[in-house]
């Protein structure tokens, strides 16, 4: 079949079903793909700049507002960075509650992405609302999981997003034994439901057009299992580095078509997120999640970004199980009257914390003055880190489709949107923007 020459651009003005405002722009020059941009026009909010001169207690209440989908991530990470600066050691109970709160965020965020944002593409619907007639079971599972994520975060954090109960040094109020028992029971009843997303995605083949070698980065789980805290970042190229020194390896630059900066690892595009975590650390998954991961290995290809949906689905299974274990431990060990550790600021210091947010590595550096005021802040979000890799994948997709003689811009645009959604981008996170040194 002769290749048609097309010169008109392929554009998606506003990508629906993602968190934030972004578009896609592809400019073709004859048969060659000239430009592939993910245009980020979500307005900038300058979090690092506006926090300067403000007290650290208020700043850590403001940072979660970077993003509603991962508010707990943007709470716990800066809180840990501030504690790190001040040499404050949170109690074991505090860290357990924080991990469970963070898991609540993973459950809520992955559920929303998988069922509400991504799945309608694969089942051929414009949105989850129109699936009510044909897919009642799927929706029931989606709602049960979303409610579970919200429940965990409300019990521990005060509400499903922008949790105020998580503070520097601990918690304002610690839920009693009964709350943890109820939580454990609810989690236990969801074992089967947690596998619904995986079941839905298994069976859709991974598009070969976007398959390519790539470097994955993920935080090595602190206890050798599979969780969001750690000190060392591992790369799939075999290297590793100290999370606290992330600014030496991970950089950001400004590009003209985006209010979000573009990240790079040693100057190269890279991937971070569920697929990266699964690729590097799947051995640490809970038993059932590990088994499912092995069974559906072919759908979890580190070279293909569409696998990210499946990797999130595996994490959903894992985190429901892990949350149950932690809730169980807290039910038997909870000390509801444990006091919050008071923050004592005696000298100026800098604190760094990197965690795994639902979408990947999230890094906070806070420079705090001796009066407790923020002197400088640096935040790098996962979406900003992987935007260049996403653009490279979109380019591969367009080139692959053109090679097959597919030139209909609507068909191409739809496929591009699906690739973008598989990354689960968080555009409002990405435009928080880092401070120029």
């Amino acid at each position: 079949m002769p290749k048609k020459k097309i010169t008109h651009p392929i554009t998606v003005d506003h990508i629906a079903r993602i968190e934030g405002k972004a578009g896609i722009e592809v400019i073709l020059d004859g048969k060659k793909v000239d430009v592939v941009n993910v245009n980020v026009f979500e307005g900038p909010r300058f979090f690092e700049a506006i926090a300067v001169g403000k007290h650290v207690d208020e700043a850590v209440a403001v940072f979660p507002r970077v993003c509603s989908f991962c508010a707990a991530a943007h709470k716990i990470t800066p809180v840990l960075a501030a504690e790190n600066a001040m040499g404050l050691e949170p109690s074991e109970q505090t860290m357990k509650m924080r991990e469970l709160l963070y898991i609540g965020d993973f459950i809520q965020s992955h559920t929303l992405h998988l069922f509400f944002l991504a799945l309608p593409d694969f089942l051929g619907f414009p949105d989850v609302f129109s699936m009510q007639g044909a897919h009642k079971d799927i929706l029931n599972a989606a709602i049960a999981l979303k409610d579970m994520g919200a429940h965990i975060q409300t019990v521990i954090g005060s509400r499903a997003i922008h949790q105020e109960n998580a503070l520097i040094g601990g918690f304002g109020k610690i839920p009693p034994k009964k709350s943890w028992e109820t939580m454990r029971q609810k989690l236990r009843s969801l074992h089967g439901v947690a596998e619904e997303a995986l079941e839905q995605f298994v069976g859709f083949s991974l598009w070969p057009e976007v398959e390519a070698e790539r470097v994955h980065l993920a935080l090595k789980p602190i206890d050798g299992t599979y969780t969001m805290f750690g000190d060392t970042i591992l790369a799939s190229d075999g290297s590793k580095f100290k999370a606290k020194a992330y600014q030496m390896r991970i950089s950001e630059k400004v590009v003209p078509h985006s209010f979000a900066k573009h990240g790079a690892y040693n100057g190269q595009p890279f991937m971070t997120g569920a697929l990266s975590r699964f690729t590097l650390f799947s051995d640490g998954l809970s038993k059932r999640a590990k088994l499912l991961g092995r069974t559906y290995e072919e759908y979890l290809d580190a070279k293909n970004p569409l696998s990210n949906n499946l990797a999130q689905a595996i994490e959903l299974v894992h985190y429901i199980h892990r949350a149950e274990i932690i809730a169980d431990e807290l039910a038997s060990s909870i000390k509801p009257n444990e006091r919050r550790v008071e923050l004592e600021i005696t000298k100026a210091a800098t604190g760094v914390c990197v965690t795994e947010a639902p979408r990947g590595l999230l890094a906070y550096t806070l420079k705090i003055g001796k009066n407790g005021v923020i002197r400088a802040a640096n935040i790098i979000t996962p979406t900003a880190m992987y935007l260049p890799m996403m653009e490279a994948d979109l380019r591969r997709m367009v080139e692959g489709l053109l090679e097959q003689g597919i030139t209909d811009s609507k068909t191409i645009a739809q496929k591009l949107e699906t690739v973008v959604r598989s990354y689960d981008p968080c555009v409002s996170c990405s435009v928080h923007v880092a401070r120029v040194k």
């Binding site: 506006i50 403001v62 993003c67 005060s158």
Partner: protein, 276 residues
């Protein structure tokens, strides 16, 4: 019957479906997230016709006329402003939803201290971006807004209250009392008086059932300022001064969610006294 000064829509009952648009300018997407996940969202989706809800539906358009428009986010780019004007043109009722649309949101924390160019330079340096940003501002700085639904994020029951009053051909009433009123009803001890915590309850509009003070966490003021001529303000807010908090500290804390309150300085003067 049309009530004077209150924009309402025709009651639908079983004969029609109200058209609703959910729009976003610049924000964290939390208001839409709460809206998309209210417990009865599937029932809501059957009762109304969503013409625009980009976050959850690819069947979305900015250009369709709607009965009710919920607008989340602050105006922070020229594109935001264009979209906002388009939404106003197409909607019967415009509701500002959430702290950003109502009061400018946390991105206005440095309002009055740093302007857009300074913020831009501190973050992007000399690099140029093809989109034009604007100083973050609440939406009523640019268009007429019929109702305000505050909160960061807004409360689920309040979203349902707004929606249902509209569908019944009525309108939501404004809350004019502070968080303290609800905090007392919750039976909480006062953490401002008893524990010296910097709780903004006295100056913050209620509706959250004192969510944070109920967790022993001082109110951060996310629902925005309580109406100005409120008597609670004088009596309770004086406690800030009595507890030794400085005017500057309280101003910075209030500014997180109140930087566009034109009465902010006057409120502070009521508590801390006028400059001599």
């Amino acid at each position: 019957m049309t009530l004077p000064d209150h924009e309402i829509i025709e009651e639908c009952r079983d004969v029609c479906r109200a058209t609703v648009g959910v729009y976003v300018l610049t924000s964290c997407y939390g208001c839409q997230l709460v809206m998309a996940t209210v417990e009865k969202i599937m029932e809501v989706a059957n009762l109304v016709d969503f013409k625009c809800f980009y976050m959850v539906s690819s069947k979305s358009s900015l250009h369709e006329p709607v009965d009710i428009a919920f607008v989340e986010g602050s105006v922070s780019t020229e594109k935001d402003l264009e979209e906002l004007k388009e939404v106003r043109k197409n909607a019967k009722v415009v509701v500002a939803i959430g702290a950003c649309a109502v009061n400018g949101g946390v991105q206005s924390w440095s309002e009055g201290d740093l302007n857009y160019d300074e913020l831009y330079a501190s973050v992007y340096g000399d690099s140029k971006i093809k989109y034009k940003g604007l100083q973050a501002a609440p939406i009523d700085s640019y268009v007429k807004v019929d109702y305000f639904l505050p909160g960061c994020p807004p409360e689920e029951d309040e979203i349902m209250y707004f929606l249902s009053t509209f569908l019944f051909g009525s309108y939501p009433e404004e809350i004019d009392y502070p968080v303290c009123a609800e905090c007392r009803l919750e039976g909480n001890p006062c953490i401002l008086i008893e524990r010296d915590a910097p709780c903004l309850g006295p100056v913050t509009v209620a509706g959250c059932k004192a969510r944070c003070p109920s967790f022993n966490v001082p109110c951060i003021g996310c629902r925005g300022p309580v109406p100005h001529d409120n008597s609670w303000f004088d009596s309770l807010a004086l406690t800030f001064k009595n507890k030794g908090y400085s005017k500057d500290y309280i101003r910075e804390r209030m500014k997180i969610f109140c930087s566009f309150d034109k009465n902010l300085e006057e409120r502070l003067e009521k508590v801390f006294g006028r400059k001599k």
